[in-house]
Structures are given as structure tokens and as C-alpha cells.
């Protein structure tokens, strides 16, 4: 709320100088009513306060002054006639002065007071009122006339919304407060015709609604330049009722803002009297005694607070007398019952309902949080630990960052991606009534965002790009509900050794095999293996049909490594060759958790190894994995390791043929190997390769 300091000063002393004003603002802020800034307005310096939802009583000049007074032990000027003694209930219908009030819905309208003012002269709003309203309401304020703006002025000053009707538009001056009936309509002051539904509290004449209670008046009964007689409404409405109606109508006003936060029921009379007096002062006329229907009497709440318990909750040894003095400054009446405090809660504080609330008031006002000690409670649970997911995220990020990939965090909320598979599209989770396409759904894959980042970087002239994200994707779960799978997804393009200035950029490209290396490195760091890759067409369309592989660990498919299809790179302005990996984070996390300390040590060898190379020529269609498996099996128990050291595809070999250099290392645990043993093993390898993998040994 915006509150001109000069207005506030009518009720509480506010220092004139800048430092004093700042201290005053800090006082309010530290009491919980944050002064966000001090604005400079034609009405002088104006506080911009941030009102928490539980403190409707702060939505007024007087309420703000009252808080400052309690927090800073400042003198508070009384607001005439307030708070009044809670009036007893009356009949539900009263009449007099050519008007009548009937409450048909006492639950939602416990009190309605109508003050008749006859013989007013409608005129322009006095400038001092207009200035303050303008400072307080900003752009929302348009001067209307003296009577209406006085009701607004008193609302801001005291916190009680008021409404003025042209009495002569009300048949027999009758006011009926009731729920709307099916089919009733009302053109509200903003010119909108509104359909009212049962449950919406309305102010009605003898047969139809003339105002939406506590929210907005109606056009036909408004104050006009020709108005002579005024019926001034000051009422207490139920907060929840007003909020629901306001939501249903999509109509929020200064009045509804206050009513839905609860308005002090004991403000009805004082606010009406203040407004009536100002109207007479500015617009003339004579005021009659209000027709004040009290359908339900307000009785104050009692809350019992144990001083010991309050001290325990705060963790501070608050002085009992200071605690009581602080509560009393807040308007709480305190009866001492033995060591406990029987707190009688003031009518403007609906938020104080339990002992803990009293502890808070004592903490913030009597003790002051700056005086709250800092203590460390003993740790009685098991020590701290990360979650499995937390540990997994840390390992993935550290490993991939070390491998040279940039860690990114991208939006979960996205527009549906054209790259999504049919399955993904069917499982996509949509946001209801989304305001824009970018906020219309949740990502089903991390890849589209990564590709957007890649495209932007590429467009910005960056050629060597390596990125990953580890994060959640979202989908509808089978059988209802939602699933949030964890994915580890990366993109690489350009050079694998971008800083190797002695190498030509294309000597070591970030290609499929580099990407495989990154993935294997990650799986190793997670303690997951052995890894096998197999060609796949599962992501056809998105990826290159001849350069896509599923990644399998211990018989479980954990993801994909692939080159993007040319169609995708072209359509998305990406570099020609882009490699991606997309791994199932949940599965990897589970495999990793089971991996434990599985490695068993092998004693170091005592005898020397013998290394031999074979370089047969194979049809290119025979996959290396098959060749390796055949060779490994055929080489027998002496084989220590088999490593691929070269792949050669030359015209001299003929089309569709390639030579693979296989390096065999043999070793025995029993003794030094003889040439004959090694040769025998190699002969078995040769024979198996010829027989099972169409090897041509002539050139090898």
C-alpha cells in the first residue's frame, strides 16, 4: 500500500528528516511490515509497504500508524469513536429516516449500517483529498466527486470500505442484504454487466441487486452530479464470501482486497461517522443517526499463552513484564492467570489464534529478533548424507565436465518440440490454460533444449561445442499419474581437441567414437559396465540411420549414441555433423548403486608378455564386435588382451573391405612363453577369423 507520510503523521509521529524517516521505515520493516521504498509524490514522501496476506489491518493509514506505535513505543493518536464497544445484536431489519436495512444472510453479513445524509451538493473532489488518493492509488485513481472520494479516503485511512448510494434511486430507501438469485444481473460501476449466481452476497433493493457486496456498486444507484440524498453503507462482510465472489466474477477492487483479508468489525461505526462528517464538511447536508443492523455480535477471542512455552519456542529468556507490555502495545489485553497469560485478542487481529501466534508477537515486538540468540541444537538423528540422486548428479557433472562438456540447466517448461517422437508427444504433460506456447508443456526430452543452445552458439560463431544436461523430463504415466524420468543427455560437434594447435582441426573430430568415449568414461565413473553398443534404428528420422547405436550395460539398454540425421541438422541450422547421447539416468543410478566395490585384485604377472599384430582384411559389413569376440575366443587362455590399433580402408583393398590391425598380448602365469605356444594360439585365431568372419589373411 502507498501511504503519504503526511497522512500517517496525523496519527503517529514520523521524523521530518531523511535519516529519521529511514529509521521509521526500518522500524516498520523489522516489525514485519516491509517498507519497500519511499516514493516521491505531489503529496510528499510516500511509503510503499508490502502487506503480508495475514495482516489486512495493515491495509490502512491508521493500521500502519498503530503498528509503528507498537513496534517503536510511539504515541498513537486516537481514531475518533474507534474501536467501539461491541454492539449487541439487534433485529435483522431496522428502519428510520426514510430508509430501511434488512439482513437476510447474517453469516456473510454480520452487520450493516446505513447513514442517511440529506441535502448534499455534489461537487469536485477537494484537492487535499484528491492529492492523497492520487498518491495512494497511483494510476488507478480517477477523481470522481466529493462524496465518492470521501468514501475512498476513509477506506484508505481507516481500512473500512464504504459505499455511497443515491438514496432517491432506492424504492422506499430499502436495503436488503442477501445472496443473489438465479438469473440476476447487475451492471457494475465499471460498466460491465455481470451475471450473479446464488452464493454471491449482494446489496439489493426491494427486488433486485444494486451492488455486489464488498466489491463494487451498481451503475443505477451511483452518486451522480444530481444526487441530493445519500445512503452511506458501512458494513462487515465475511472474508471468505467476498473472496469467493471476487474470484468468481474476476473482479478485484480496493474494497474486496480489504474485505477478503478481514476488516475489523468494530470499525463499522467509526468509519461511517468519519465519512459522514467529511461529507457534511465538503458537500453540506445533514446527517441522521445510522440504521445499524447487528445480526451477530462480535465477541473477542481469548488465547492462553504459557510464558514458559513461549520462552521455549523462542529459545530466549523473555522477561515476562516486557512480554506483557509488548502485547499490550499491540492492543492485546492480558489477564495474568498464575504464570500464564490470558490474551484477549483485539478485533483487528484475526490472525492471532494460538499460543504460537502470541509467541511470535512477543518475539517480534517485545524481544525483537535482533536480540534472538543463535544456538545450535544437538544432532540426534544420523549424520548428514546426500540422496542417491544427489550423489549421481555430482558424479555425472564432475565426469562430463572433466571430459570437456559444458554443464547446462534448461527450462522444464517448453513449447512442444517438433523433434518429439510420436510416443513422446502422446505422453506429453500440458499446462492448463497456458498463457503462451513456451509455457504450454513440460519437456519430454532434454535434447531439444540442448540443440537450441547448440544452434545459438553455432550462429554466434562457436564451432567446437560440447554440452550436456542431467535433469528431469516429464510424461504421463501408464495407468494415470505422472512420471519424471531422469535423463543424461549431451551434444558434441566440431573438434574433439579444440586446443590442439599442432593438429589440423579435422584430424580428431568430435565424432561418434569420441562421443562413445565420453559415455564410457561416464559409465566407468559410475562403476557401470561392461558396455556394448549395437546398431539401432529406434530413433530413425531424428538420427542418422547408419550411425545410431543403443548402449547396453549388463543386458539392460541404458541409452543411445548417434549422429543427428541430416534432415534434423538442416532444419535446425545446426552444423553438418552433430553427435548426441541420451542416457537413462534412473537406470544408471540403479546400476551404479548396485556396483559397490565389485573390483577384485589380480596378482601382478611374474613372466614377460609377448605381443603380436595381425592385420587381416575383412568385409566392411562384419562388425568389429563380432571379430573381437571370435578372436578372443579362439586365442585361448594365454590371451591377456586384444586391442584394435588401426583401421584402414583403402582403394587397394577393394570396395567394401577394410583392414583391421589387431594387437594380441599373450602371457602365461606359469612361465615364460615359447614362440611355438604363441604361434599355435595365433593360428587358431587366424583359422577362426577366416572361417567365422570372412577374414582374408593374404594381406595381413
Amino acid at each position: 500500500m502507498k501511504i503519504p507520510v503526511a497522512w500517517l503523521r496525523e496519527y503517529v509521529p514520523v521524523p521530518e528528516d531523511e535519516a529519521g524517516l529511514q529509521a521509521f521505515c526500518d522500524l516498520l520493516t523489522m516489525a514485519g511490515l516491509e517498507v519497500e521504498e519511499v516514493l516521491d509524490t505531489p503529496a510528499g514522501p510516500t511509503l510503499y509497504t508490502k502487506i503480508t496476506p495475514n495482516r489486512g489491518d495493515w491495509a490502512s493509514v491508521y493500521g500502519t500508524a498503530r503498528e509503528a506505535s507498537a513496534a517503536g513505543k510511539l504515541a498513537l493518536a486516537p481514531y475518533p469513536g474507534y474501536p467501539e464497544r461491541s454492539p449487541d445484536a439487534t433485529a435483522l431489519s431496522l428502519a428510520g429516516e426514510g430508509a430501511s436495512v434488512t439482513i437476510e444472510d447474517p453469516e456473510n453479513c454480520p452487520r450493516y449500517s446505513a447513514t442517511v445524509i440529506r441535502g448534499v451538493t455534489i461537487g469536485p473532489t477537494p484537492s487535499w483529498i484528491a492529492e492523497r488518493l492520487s498518491a495512494a492509488l497511483g494510476d488507478k485513481y480517477k477523481p470522481i466527486n466529493n462524496v465518492v472520494d470521501i468514501t475512498n479516503y476513509v477506506m484508505l485511512e481507516a481500512g473500512q470500505p464504504l459505499h455511497a448510494f443515491d438514496l432517491d434511486t432506492l424504492p422506499e430507501g430499502a436495503i436488503v442484504v442477501r445472496s443473489a438469485r438465479e438469473g440476476e444481473m447487475l451492471v457494475t460501476l465499471d460498466g460491465v454487466e455481470r451475471k450473479l449466481t446464488p452464493g454471491m452476497l449482494c446489496i439489493c433493493d426491494q427486488d433486485k441487486p444494486i451492488a455486489v457486496a464488498g466489491i463494487m456498486g451498481g451503475g443505477p444507484t451511483e452518486i451522480t452530479s444530481g444526487t441530493v440524498n445519500v445512503l452511506l453503507e458501512s458494513a462487515h462482510f465475511d472474508a471468505l464470501s467476498i473472496r469467493r465472489t471476487s474470484k468468481q466474477l474476476g473482479l478485484a477492487t480496493e474494497a474486496s482486497y480489504r474485505f477478503e483479508r478481514y476488516v475489523d468489525p468494530l470499525l463499522v461505526g467509526a468509519a461511517a461517522a468519519r465519512a459522514a462528517a467529511l461529507i457534511v464538511e465538503c458537500a453540506g447536508g445533514t446527517v441522521s443517526a445510522p440504521i445499524d443492523v447487528v445480526a451477530k455480535r462480535f465477541s473477542p477471542r481469548h488465547v492462553l499463552a504459557r510464558v514458559d512455552r513461549v520462552r521455549k519456542l523462542l529459545g530466549a529468556d523473555v522477561d515476562r513484564d516486557e512480554a506483557i507490555a509488548g502485547l499490550e502495545r499491540l492492543g492485546v489485553r492480558v489477564d495474568r492467570i498464575a504464570t500464564n497469560l490470558d490474551c484477549i485478542i483485539p478485533s483487528w487481529r484475526p490472525d492471532l489464534t494460538i499460543e504460537d501466534d502470541i509467541a511470535e508477537e512477543i518475539g517480534r515486538v517485545a524481544l525483537g529478533y535482533e536480540n534472538l540468540p543463535e544456538t545450535l541444537p544437538p544432532l540426534r538423528s544420523e549424520g548428514g548424507k546426500d540422496s542417491p540422486r544427489g550423489r549421481f548428479l555430482a558424479t555425472v557433472r564432475e565426469t562430463l565436465v572433466r571430459a570437456g562438456l559444458q554443464d547446462i540447466h534448461s527450462h522444464s517448461l517448453t513449447a512442444p518440440s517438433p523433434l518429439a517422437t510420436e510416443e513422446e508427444a502422446a505422453q506429453r504433460v500440458y499446462i492448463r490454460s497456458a498463457l503462451s506456447p513456451e509455457l504450454s508443456s513440460l519437456r519430454t526430452s532434454l535434447l531439444p533444449n540442448l540443440l537450441t543452445v547448440t544452434r545459438n552458439a553455432f550462429a554466434g560463431g562457436i564451432r567446437d561445442i560440447a554440452l550436456f544436461e542431467v535433469g528431469t523430463v516429464y510424461r504421463k504415466a501408464e495407468g494415470g499419474g505422472y512420471a519424471e524420468p531422469l535423463r543424461v543427455t549431451g551434444v558434441v560437434t566440431g573438434s574433439a581437441m579444440p586446443q590442439a594447435w599442432s593438429l589440423k582441426p579435422d584430424v580428431y573430430p568430435a565424432d561418434f567414437y569420441f562421443t562413445r568415449g565420453v559415455v564410457e568414461d561416464l559409465l566407468f565413473a559410475l562403476g557401470v559396465g561392461p558396455v556394448t553398443l549395437a546398431p539401432s534404428e529406434a530413433t530413425a528420422g531424428l538420427t542418422h540411420p547408419g550411425r545410431t547405436a543403443t548402449v547396453t550395460v549388463a543386458g539392460e539398454t541404458v541409452g543411445t549414441i548417434a549422429e543427428l540425421s541430416e534432415a534434423v541438422t538442416e532444419a535446425n541450422d545446426l552444423p553438418r555433423r552433430v553427435y548426441v547421447f541420451d542416457l537413462d539416468g534412473d537406470r544408471l543410478m540403479a546400476l551404479s548403486a548396485g556396483a559397490g566395490h565389485a573390483v577384485r585384485y589380480t596378482p601382478l604377472p611374474k613372466y614377460p608378455a609377448v605381443t603380436r599384430d595381425l592385420a587381416p582384411v575383412f568385409p566392411a559389413s562384419v562388425p568389429y564386435a563380432q571379430i573381437e569376440a571370435v578372436a578372443q575366443k579362439a586365442a585361448g587362455p594365454l590371451l591377456e588382451s586384444l586391442r584394435l590399433t588401426d583401421v584402414y580402408e583403402g582403394a587397394n583393398l577393394g570396395a567394401g573391405r577394410r583392414s583391421l590391425t589387431l594387437r594380441f598380448t599373450f602371457r602365461s602365469r606359469e612361465g615364460t612363453l615359447k614362440d611355438a605356444d604363441v604361434e599355435a594360439a595365433l593360428n587358431q585365431v587366424r583359422a577362426a577369423l577366416v572361417e567365422q568372419t570372412q577374414a582374408d589373411l593374404r594381406t595381413g
Partner: protein
């Protein structure tokens, strides 16, 4: 004969001393000590022509002379080798200021870095991390946390709904009900979570519809507001350094009572971190706990502001836009 030996030794020693390189030293060695034609070696052959009684004496003198020449040779060889190595290494000098050739490591996203720090500090304070879903049940996001239906407090929580009862969580505090309710965790405990939250907000330099929080909550006997302040102060020191101070300011959140806003004095200003307070007794009761015996604290702090202040970042949007020119600064 002895005179001749002496002269030849002197000549050999001179030749050793004058040899300019290991190569010419080898020639000197061959010339004097070579098995076939070495001049000193050859003197041994003259031994047969000597009277027998002179032979032992001359032989000894000759061996001694050879040994001295050999020592001189060895010494000179070492010296020349060292000099030649030094010369070679001078010639092999490289430009050490040329850049590194390895594959440069990637960079951790500032949010990852901050989240890792948060986890490290919180684990040190005895918190156990757990994870909750982004798509949250209305029940846990609001009902469990004491949000009255149709309350103005909901106005601050404009939400993304995916169906009438599920929404993107507006606060990581939503986990409280899952832990204390669904899982039925019994005190004492200290639980924490880090995660993504969503609220309908106009996006600008300091607001986003997507943000990140760390939530911590603890229930035990005798937990007080002062304990909360102490734990948050320890957290703040762990995150921001030993001189950081914590400030509590009254604030309102339906799930705590008393409720405070937490700020830390860091870098010459108050940095508002988030909300905190003692867990509302309604929530402890909902969890079936005796509120006379147990109390608890809870806090939910914004993560995005931490790297913003640490790195002087003035636009929150940079975090999720992933401009590499931004990310590679860290």
C-alpha cells in the same frame, strides 16, 4: 725410457685437457690408449727389449701413467658431456608460453556449483537429502502446508496446473508432507532438498517462472526459533564466509509460526535468502506428532540469488538461457 714415458704422459694429459669435444676426446683416447696403436699402450711392447731387472719398475710406472691418463680422460669426458648436453638443451628450448594442448574441461553451471555447495554445507550440518517430484499434488503443495482454501496467501502462489489436482510445485516445502505424512518419518530428523519450483510470474531480470530452492526442516524435542537462527547462521557462514551475519525479519508463511524472512549481510548489503520459521503446530499434528513434546523448524531459501550476488550477475534469465559465452565465464 722412463724419460720418454714421462714426456708422453705429459703430452697425453695435455691432449686430454685440450680436447674440445667428446668426439676429439675419443680420438685422444685411441691415440694414447688404443689397444693396437695407442702410444702409451705401445710402450708396453718395448718392455721386452729392456733388461729384466728394469722391467717391473718400468711396468709399474707405465701402468700408473696410463691410470692417470684414464682418470683425466674420464673427468674430461664428464665435463665435456655436461657442456654438450647443456648446449643441446639450450638449442631445444621451446616457447613455454604457447597454450596448452589438452582438451579443456567444461564448466560447471553456476547453479550446479551453488547447489553442490549448498549440499556440502547442509550435509555438514547433519541434513539428509531427499528428492521430491516437480509435478506435485495440490494436497502436498498447499493443504498439508496449512494453506486455507481460498485464502489471499494463494495470490502469491500463482501456479501452473497440469490437471485439477496437480501442479508444478510452487515451493520445495511441498516435500514436508511427503516425508512426515506419506513416508511417516518420525523425529528426530533433519531433512533437506534442493529443487526446481515454478510460479506464474512475468519474467524480467530478477523474476522467472522457474527458480530453485533449498528447503530444510527438522523436528525434535526442544527445537526453538533461536536454533533456527543458529543453524541458518552456520549455513550462511558455510556458504558465504565466516563474517556473514544473519537477520530475521517477521514475515508470513502459512506453514510456519512464527514466520521470518531470512537475510544475510554479505558484500555490504542485506541479501534476502527466503522464508523460515517454526513448523506450524497444525502440520505437526497432521503428522501425528505431540506438539507439546516436539517442535520443528523449516526454511526455504532461493538458490538463484546466491550465484547472482557471488558473481555479480544482474540478469536471472541468463541461468536458463545457456548462452555459452555466459556459461564459459565460470
Amino acid at each position: 725410457m722412463t724419460e720418454e714415458l714421462k714426456a708422453m704422459e705429459a703430452e697425453a694429459l695435455r691432449a686430454v685437457a685440450d680436447a674440445p669435444s667428446t668426439k676429439s676426446l675419443e680420438e685422444v683416447e685411441t691415440a694414447y690408449l688404443g689397444r693396437k696403436a695407442g702410444r702409451l699402450t705401445s710402450l708396453m711392447r718395448g718392455l721386452g727389449a729392456m733388461p729384466p731387472e728394469q722391467r717391473p719398475q718400468f711396468g709399474q710406472a707405465l701402468n700408473e701413467a696410463k691410470s692417470r691418463v684414464e682418470s683425466a680422460l674420464a673427468e674430461r669426458r664428464e665435463a665435456l658431456k655436461a657442456a654438450e648436453r647443456a648446449e643441446r638443451e639450450r638449442a631445444e628450448a621451446i616457447d613455454v608460453t604457447l597454450p596448452a594442448r589438452g582438451r579443456p574441461r567444461g564448466r560447471m553451471h553456476p547453479l550446479s556449483e551453488t547447489m553442490a555447495e549448498v549440499r556440502r554445507v547442509m550435509i555438514g550440518l547433519g541434513f539428509e537429502f531427499v528428492d521430491g517430484p516437480d509435478i506435485e499434488d495440490y494436497h502436498y503443495n498447499f493443504d498439508w502446508l496449512n494453506y486455507p482454501p481460498d485464502h489471499p496467501a494463494m495470490d502469491e502462489q500463482m501456479s501452473f496446473y497440469v490437471d485439477p489436482t496437480h501442479l508444478l510445485r510452487t515451493q520445495t516445502t511441498a516435500l514436508q508432507g511427503r516425508i512426515m505424512g506419506a513416508e511417516g518419518r518420525k523425529p528426530p530428523f533433519r531433512i533437506a532438498t534442493v529443487g526446481r519450483c515454478y510460479r506464474y510470474e512475468a519474467v524480467d531480470a530478477t523474476h522467472s517462472h522457474t527458480f530453485h530452492q533449498v528447503d530444510g526442516f527438522s523436528v525434535d524435542e526442544g527445537i526453538s526459533l533461536a536454533d533456527l537462527k543458529g543453524v541458518l547462521a552456520a549455513f550462511a557462514r558455510g556458504m558465504f564466509g565466516p563474517d556473514v551475519k544473519v537477520r530475521f525479519r517477521p514475515d508470513f508463511f502459512p506453514f510456519v509460526e512464527p514466520g521470518v524472512e531470512v537475510a544475510v549481510w554479505w558484500g555490504g548489503r542485506w541479501l534476502e535468502l527466503g522464508g523460515a520459521g517454526l513448523i506450524h503446530p497444525n502440520i505437526l499434528k497432521r503428522a501425528g506428532l505431540d506438539t507439546e513434546r516436539y517442535t520443528g523448524f523449516a526454511f526455504g531459501l532461493g538458490i538463484d540469488r546466491m550465484p547472482m550476488v557471488r558473481h555479480g550477475i544482474d540478469d536471472l534469465r541468463l541461468f536458463l538461457e545457456n548462452d555459452l559465452r555466459f556459461l564459459q565465464q565460470f
